[in-house]
């Protein structure tokens, strides 16, 4: 098709008469060819595209999501937005600032109303044991101080118990609106509830009031957003949260001058300010420490500060038995280290399994590749049948075989090789995992070895022997080096498959024979520490991808053969 191409010289104008060679439609041949090639490329890509998109969406995106989850940590700043800000200036060593206590009271109150505080408690409990119960018990007692203020205010003026005066006082109406406050609270509430929160709020905080009573306005705005957009009630008709009362008392006690205020509810405020002594003293440090003295403990605050950024290396540190401290990462105490041991055990068992697969596969592959085709095909069925049999069938078969009352022990007892009262323990330990997984992965070793060995020409060994090599020398110096690619391909494949195994260790591995995968599954379904599961998974994935890359370089991914 392309046997006649024009010389480049023809295009330079040196020989104007010759001109470029033309295709049938009058275009220059070179352009025509390039176009055909481009079309061909495009067509090939269009054939690949649907599948590529499918795999990217259903497989690669989930993996990427998992990678993201291993560092993601927005839960702290979403649940305690003000506290995170208040702790920014704190160095982690000195006394905890008052602003932090202020902030955490309101953050925790809102979170408790939205039932999100226990979720955060669980999250922080992964890093600091005990925080979970601190959050849970505090969530129940935050109302108490507000109740006291509420009662006291009601004694001063019963109108404080009505929703309407509150609404008139806080709502902007014709007055200027504090849009900054509204936007901040809206953003925080969206982050906290994880909902879009759209609709008619029916409320806007008055700037006048928020300047005068900042805490009260903030607490009331949070409540209003929650009431209107989450619960779907009308702001003007509902009683505010107790936190609003606590905020008012706190604002008044910290010296808010209400005399200059003349908007709605001015007289009520003036009355309350006049009777300041009747209100219980609201100091949020005392409130929080009163609820639980652990709020005075430095390490709980350090944990909150450490995990306040949106992204954290904490899960990765946990998965290598380290923990994030205020002075940087450090190793966990000896008795809490489990993951390094587990990673080492996973690697060690995978190596043992790969090794025993090599030992068992080599003779079989050798035999198969040296037998006449018909016998080889028959024996091949014995290799392929396990390969095609359900993994669970093979695992249950091994459970049947290896149990103490199982087939192997029965046979050994029957033969008199093992006494009835000293049956071998071959299951729920590493032996069980190694035996069962070697059996399950054996075909993945035999097949690549066989395909390499059947291409080794027999005359090299014959030549070596005729030159005087002994059988062993001929095998070791001539045959074996040629079979190494098969061993390499099989080993990487088996190792990759073994390192991520879950089902078989789970059933025959007991506690000593489980892999890192089993721990990941445990964190997903039982302990619900998804971030740690994602971090462990990411490390495992990195190991597998390095091996995959090596496999691609050594064997070539399109050289994988099945059956």
């Amino acid at each position: 098709m392309t046997h006649s191409t024009t010389e480049p010289a023809n295009f330079t104008g040196a020989a104007p008469k010759a001109g470029p060679m033309l295709a049938a439609d009058g275009r220059p041949l070179k352009k025509s060819l390039a176009r055909a090639l481009r079309r061909q490329k495009l067509r090939a890509l269009m054939l690949v595209a649907p599948l590529l998109i499918f795999v990217l969406v259903t497989f690669i995106a989930p993996i990427a999501d998992m990678l993201f989850r291993s560092v993601e940590n927005q839960i702290v700043s979403e649940t305690l937005p003000e506290t995170v800000m208040a702790l920014q200036e704190w160095n982690g060593e000195s006394d905890i600032p008052d602003a932090a206590y202020d902030a955490i009271y309101f953050d925790l109150f809102t979170a408790a109303e939205a039932k999100q505080h226990t979720r955060l408690g669980t999250r922080l409990n992964y890093e600091q044991t005990g925080i979970s119960s601190l959050f849970r018990t505090s969530g129940r007692q935050l109302d108490d101080i507000g109740d006291d203020v509420h009662d006291a205010l009601e004694d001063i003026n019963p109108a404080w118990d009505e929703p309407a005066p509150w609404y008139q006082m806080m709502n902007a109406g014709d007055r200027p609106v504090d849009t900054a406050l509204l936007d901040t609270k809206m953003f925080d509430m969206r982050a906290l509830t994880g909902e879009v929160l759209e609709g008619d709020l029916g409320f806007a905080p008055a700037r006048e009031v928020s300047d005068l009573l900042p805490r009260t306005a903030a607490a009331y705005t949070s409540w209003a957003i929650y009431t209107a957009l989450v619960d779907g009630d009308i702001v003007a008709e509902e009683d505010p949260w107790e936190s609003v009362f606590a905020a008012l008392a706190s604002d008044l006690q910290s010296g808010a001058d209400v005399s200059g205020y003349s908007g709605p509810g001015a007289d009520m405020l003036a009355e309350a300010a006049a009777n300041l002594d009747a209100l219980p003293a609201v100091d949020f440090r005392n409130v929080m420490v009163g609820i639980d003295e652990d709020w005075g403990a430095l390490e709980n605050w350090q944990t909150i500060k450490l995990y306040s950024p949106d992204y954290t290396p904490g899960y990765f540190l946990n998965s290598v038995d380290m923990q994030n401290g205020i002075d940087g990462a450090q190793m966990r105490p000896e008795n809490e280290r489990i993951y390094i041991t587990l990673f080492i055990r996973t690697l060690y068992l995978s190596l043992v399994i790969t090794g025993s697969c090599i030992l068992l596969s080599y003779p079989v592959a050798f035999l198969l590749s040296n037998l006449p085709a018909r016998s080889a095909n028959l024996l091949m069925i014995l290799v392929l049948l396990p390969f095609w049999t359900s993994l669970l069938v093979r695992t249950s078969a091994w459970k049947v075989m290896l149990q103490q009352q199982g087939v192997i022990n029965d046979v050994l007892v029957w033969l008199g090789l093992v006494a009835d009262d000293s049956r071998l323990v071959m299951i729920n330990n590493q032996t069980g995992t190694i035996i069962a997984m070697t059996h399950i992965l054996l075909p993945f070793m035999i097949l690549p070895m066989y395909s390499v060995m059947s291409t080794i020409p027999p005359y090299y060994v014959r030549a070596a022997k005729s030159l005087g090599a002994t059988n062993w020398t001929a095998f070791w110096r001539v045959y074996f080096p040629q079979s190494i690619p098969g061993i390499g391909a099989g080993s990487i494949l088996v190792f990759i498959l073994a390192i991520g195994y879950y089902i078989t260790p789970e059933i025959v591995g007991g506690t000593k024979g489980v892999f890192i995968s089993n721990r990941i599954a445990y964190h997903i379904s039982s302990s619900l520490n998804w971030g740690l599961a994602a971090a462990l998974g990411t490390i495992l994935l990195a190991v597998v991808l390095i091996l995959y890359w090596a496999y691609d370089r050594i064997v070539g991914i399109d050289n994988v053969k099945l059956g």
């Binding site: 067509r43 090939a44 599948l51 499918f54 497989f59 018909r374 014995l382 991914i557």
Partner: protein, 398 residues
């Protein structure tokens, strides 16, 4: 005539001073087990050696080749009766096996038949190694196949045990029953599991085969930019550990509301099956002659017609065997289902897995036997397709 029928080295009677000790040693070895099972290992060894030495002497020296048929039947009968006397029906079966083996073994050793298919210049050591090697390989094949064989008779157990009961070993019909199969086919837990698997696997297979075949055809053309990277991505579902795929899918699918739904599982299984389709179809396309499509185009066929009338019939064996792989992947998959499935969507492997972990019921073995039968059928189909494909592409004369 197959190669194994060709006699390379002439056979003939061996010197009895070699053969009789060898056979006696084999008898002693077998005697270890018989003796241990009956209480005295030493007696077994001595008895086995003496018995086999006498039998070998009689067969080789007295009866010779002419009396071979009679001698072998005689040995068979002797062992059968002896076995029955020691251990009833089970003993009879063992006796028959021993009798058949030793009848054959005595003549095989005694008349030098073991050298018949070997080249004459091998030293005795090499001959010994040749057969030891085969015994080793045989042991590995036994290791490969025994677990699969063992579950079959156990699934007919009349008791709820995972091991052979004395009744079963006596071949007592009362030791066997079909009750686990009855449970498997009538218990709604199992039937709905089978039904779910059957609803999920074909749809997942269809998606992987249709998308996978197109992509494999696209990838097999020359000049695909980024071919290696695309291939690596498409094969990755096979390489990435299932637990990681399952974790990622659980996170991601729960965001888009696919967790616990039928389509969630179908999509997950489809993507797990894709590497197998890509690998088998690509392998088939390696031998595909491109000039055929050009010839079709030359004669006026449009690309669609060319694909369905020329290319598809030729690569069909690869496509079908890729489909079978994808089907078995979905049918056998449990980790992803455990994570993104729901109680109503329990598949057969899920049911087996929870059964193995929690309540141990031999119904699992009935299910296993059914699955093994299915895999035998699938294996036979793939093997047939492979041969057909090779024949179509002229790679083997068969």
């Amino acid at each position: 005539m197959s190669v194994s029928d060709i006699v390379i080295t002439s056979t003939g009677k061996k010197d009895p001073s070699f053969t009789i000790p060898v056979i006696a040693a084999a008898g002693a070895f077998a005697g270890i087990f018989v003796g241990a099972a009956q209480g005295s290992t030493l007696l077994g060894i001595v008895g086995g050696a003496i018995l086999l030495a006498i039998l070998a002497f009689l067969c080789i020296e007295k009866l010779g080749r002419d009396g071979e048929k009679m001698a072998r039947w005689g040995i068979l009968a002797l062992f059968a009766v002896g076995g029955f006397a020691f251990g009833a029906v089970a003993g009879l079966v063992v006796g028959l096996l021993f009798g058949w083996f030793f009848g054959w073994f005595i003549y095989w050793i005694g008349f030098n038949r073991y050298r018949a298919h070997l080249v004459p210049y091998l030293t005795p050591g090499q001959v010994l190694w040749h057969y030891s090697f085969r015994v080793i390989c045989g042991a590995i094949f036994v290791f490969l196949i025994t677990p699969i064989i063992v579950v079959m008779p156990l699934s007919f157990n009349a008791e709820d045990f995972f091991t052979f009961t004395p009744e079963m070993l006596r071949f007592d019909p009362e030791g066997y029953s079909l009750k686990h199969y009855r449970d498997f086919f009538t218990n709604p837990e199992w039937t709905s599991a089978v039904w779910n698997s059957l609803k999920i696997a074909p749809v997942a297979t269809f998606i992987s085969v249709s998308l996978g075949t197109l992509a494999a055809i696209g990838l097999s053309q020359s000049h695909v930019p980024g071919k290696r990277a695309i291939m690596a991505i498409l094969i990755s579902p096979m390489i990435v550990p299932l637990i990681i795929s399952a974790t990622g899918m659980y996170f991601f699918y729960s965001k888009i509301g696919l967790v616990g739904t039928y389509w969630g599982i179908v999509l997950a299984h489809a993507v797990l099956g894709i590497p197998f389709v890509i690998i088998t179809v690509t392998a088939t396309l390696v031998g595909f002659d491109r000039s055929l499509t050009r010839a079709a185009a030359n004669m006026g066929a449009n690309p669609v017609t060319t694909f369905f009338r020329v290319q598809m019939p030729l690569i069909l064996p690869g496509v079908i065997s890729g489909g079978l792989f994808a089907f078995i992947t979905s049918f056998d998959e449990v980790v992803v289902v455990l994570f993104i499935g729901s109680a109503e969507l329990q598949t057969l492997p899920w049911q087996m897995f929870t059964g193995l972990r929690e309540q141990i019921s031999p119904t699992i073995l009935a299910a296993a036997t059914v699955l093994v039968s299915i895999s035998i059928v699938l294996l036979a189909m793939v093997e047939m397709l492979r041969r057909r494909s090779e024949r179509l592409r002229g790679m083997s004369p068969g």
